[in-house]
Amino acid sequence: MKLGKKRGVISGEVVFMIPKLIFLTAVLFAVVILVKLFIITTTDIRRVESDILISRLLYSPNGLSYFDNELKRVYPAVIDLNKFKQLSAGSPNQLDNGAAAYGSDNPIIAAKITLKQEGSKDIDVFYNKDRFDKWEPRTLSSVEGGAGSVQSFKEQRYVLAKDGDKLSPAILDFNVIS
């Protein structure tokens, strides 16, 4: 009879210890997770990469800007309208192999460049179109694997569109996904 009572006391204590143990385990897990969170293993350079790509497309002789063959000079804020239309109408991978070529596969960056002119239809040019089409939905939080897996950077530049000798104001919209 006495022994049974003692057993009851022991098992009762064990039952009381269970929440304590669960709490201790939770605290230890929290400490481990916190420490792991504070250890940075990678550096996010997507914003810089996006800025550099825009600069390369604007400053390179084989980019979007007008290039004077005689002077061998690029006019960074002047967009060659004929070249832009050719890039838009031709192969969508034309730009990938010119000013910024990552080789056969580019898992780093993609972009959509839109030239907006008053009274004219918008003209789109793509950089790494295949990836852009795949990544664009993933910039939305409502899509599975979206918001965070890839990031979209938008930039707007006021430029001049050169059509022959005529210069007209335009806006160049960059939507870079990295």
């Binding site: 400490v31 420490v35 293993t41 002789p61 084989n62 192999n97 990552y102």
Partner: protein, 149 residues
């Protein structure tokens, strides 16, 4: 007052209960100690590793090459970075920079891609740096980019 008396009575009369509680407390302490020890070991391991440094260097060098391509005209840039106790090798290859320690296995090497420009030739090179510093000279002319120590 009466409850205090009863509490004392329980402690002195129920020795088995106290032993169990003590055992559980010791078990908790041992568990916490093991986890903290494992955590310290993990953090120590991360500190000793050079993965972060290699990754940082590879990304930084790839960004620098991309920036040089974006810059019009001629550029000479001297890149200097503290590498603490490690001596890194920076290998500039087609469309990528690979950073690793001397004699390191291929699987442990860290690389990062950069975009080339067909009009500007990149002279690929592998540079071995001494312990403590990474020092690379970049030269960009109108039609080529070269890297030297």
């Amino acid at each position: 007052m009466s409850s205090k008396k009863r509490g004392l009575q329980i402690i002195f009369s129920n020795r088995r209960g106290m032993t169990n509680e003590l055992f559980f407390n010791i078990f908790e302490l041992v568990l916490a100690f093991i986890v903290i020890l494992a955590l310290f070991n993990f953090v120590n391991g991360v500190v000793k590793q050079t993965i972060f440094e290699k990754d940082y260097l590879a990304r930084d060098l790839a960004l620098l090459v991309s920036t040089l391509y974006a810059a019009p005209g001629q550029v000479t840039y001297s890149y200097n970075e503290n590498s603490k106790d490690s001596s890194f090798v920076s290998a500039f290859m087609q469309n990528k920079v690979e950073v690793y320690e001397k004699g390191e296995a291929e699987q442990s090497r860290i690389s990062y891609p950069f975009a080339e420009n067909k009009n500007i030739m990149f002279r690929y090179n592998s540079l071995e740096n001494d312990k403590g510093a990474v020092s690379i000279e970049f030269h960009k002319s109108d039609n080529s980019i070269s890297v030297t120590k």
